[in-house]
């Protein structure tokens, strides 16, 4: 298990607590553990996209389960981060369908542009580029995930524009309810 010793500020706002209560209500009273994955997503989103051990312990306390039950889940699923990540993590799908449509070259281009190797975070903590397995956007390749968004039919020009938007603070990583 990967353990980070970087301190993380823990802040459960009223909105987050209300959301967690809502998620727990979706499962039978004696099955609170079932809310673990959705709750972890919300808690991670609200804490700079990673889950320190103290934060995981706090989630265990809220769901009335043992800390180990949270650790074993966090370490199993790829979407939970156990250490700090770049503010904008470009997750390029590199599985077959994206690969044959140029994903690997585009990933190389992005790494070069940002001056990082795959997996590294830029010195300012802003960007990280990683290769991930199939994201289910095969017909819209090449693509990447950025927060809760999919960026599809990517070209070098589109990647440039996305980087500019990130630097300008125009990218909202977490999507709100979609009503239309």
């Amino acid at each position: 298990m990967e353990i980070s010793n970087v301190h993380q500020e823990i802040n459960f706002t009223e909105a987050l607590l209300n959301r967690i209560a809502e998620l727990i209500s979706h499962y039978p009273e004696d099955k609170r553990k079932a809310a673990l994955l959705p709750v972890l997503h919300e808690v991670q989103d609200a804490h700079n996209n990673w889950l320190s051990i103290p934060l995981q312990d706090k989630v265990a306390e809220m769901l009335e389960i043992q800390p180990i039950e949270v650790y074993e889940v966090v370490s199993f699923y790829t979407m939970f981060n156990q250490k700090p990540i770049g503010k904008y993590m470009f997750e390029f799908c590199r599985t077959s369908c994206c690969a044959v449509r140029g994903a690997e070259d585009l990933m190389d281009y992005t790494c070069n542009k940002l001056g990082v190797q795959e997996g590294e975070v830029t010195p300012d903590g802003m960007f990280q580029v990683v290769g991930v397995e199939c994201l289910g956007a095969c017909g819209y390749a090449p693509m990447m995930q950025l927060g809760d968004y999919y960026k599809e039919h990517l070209t070098k020009e589109k990647v440039d524009a996305i980087i500019d938007d990130c630097r300008a603070g125009k990218i909202d990583l977490h999507k709100q309810a979609i009503t239309e």
Binding site: I65, E72, Y77, E133, C134, G136, D148, I178, T179, E180
Partner: protein, 455 residues
Amino acid sequence: MGQKILLEKAHVPGIRTYEVYRREGGYRSVEKALKSMTPDEVVEEVKTSGLRGRGGAGFPTGMKWSFIDKKSGKPRHLVCNADESEPGTFKDRYLMEFIPHILIEGMITSSYALGCNLSYIYIRGEYMWVFRILENAIKEAYAAGWLGKNILGTGYDLDLHVHCGAGAYICGEETALIESLEGKRGNPRIKPPFPAVSGLWANPTVVNNVESIAAVPWIVNNTGAEYAKIGIGRSTGTKLISASGHCKNPGVYEIDLGLSVDEFMNSDEYLGGMMDDRPLKALVPGGSSVPILPANLIFKTAEGNDRLMTYESLSEGGFASGSMLGSGGFIVYNDTTCIVRNTWNFSRFYHHESCGQCSPCREGTGWMEKVLHRIEHGHGREEDIELLWDIQRKIEGNTICPLGDAAAWPVAAAIRHFRDEFEFHVRYPEKIKNRDHFVAEPWEKVKHMVAKEVV
């Protein structure tokens, strides 16, 4: 032009909202089922339809429903498998993103048929914006009285929630999905007991794919007999096919089962032929786990029959010369595709996604990836091809869940149909220094080098 059952209303402006969906005739199947049919009658209609599970296995849905344990007295659950993660497959996302209410309508009607009062949609965590869309659509359905207590005054209660995974392909396997829904690691369970007897929280549970559940409203509204008239033989109804790779028009298509592969591949209504008009080299017709087919077996079977988009035709000849319809993930490869590199790519995927519970899968997928990596990168040994063949045989059939088979089959099929390409990699490593080597030297130009040595 094929019949549209699932995507008929996909392009109606605002169809994502309850108001428009209802105006276009949505939720009629709930009214019909709850007010004028018994649950068993709904199950019978689905049986009559011949609908087969659209997640990949193709098991008859009505029969699966009839297995649910009604005698235990325990609560029953319907769980929708929206954990779409098979490379090449992105059809369920399309349905949920653009017509979320068709899935919710199907969940209500199907839950009624199965006697469930608490149901879930389990969606892959990466589809977070689709999760939000579904959450909102469920709220709309509650507000309109289609969910909750005493639906339509019939005394039937149903709660429905959407639950998100967190990035694990294995959670598409039904028992791993149940484990994950319970808040655990996605390790598949040994079967039996099957979920129909002991599933979510040890209660009787049915797990169905998004597309299967979304077909139920049409079947209830129009009868199973009408549905069975579409398609050919035991492949009834329509099927969503998600196309990707080197075709002109990638995307999601609804086809009548029985359409010829040739027409799907080459007509302007569907894929429109090959991107940049390059030659077709190979095809994966049903998602990454099914065997790859070489060009000479794509449009005609080994017996000389036209290859059709059906469960039966695509598997004609078994794995020696056929493949599977699977999830309908249709991946097209042109002559610039390096089969060895592509097979390594798939092996990397399965190694990454193995849950690690069974030794043959945990160790074997990594071993295959390692061997394929060295062949692709110019360090292959003559014996590596036989080694790969041996490893995949030792994985297949020796794991708790089908992920082992899914990892083994692409490797077996690639060696079976493209052995000379593997041999070329081993014997001429100096020609495979970069990822685009077949763009510079198309396979048709270099394969004679292997043939000469064989002679």
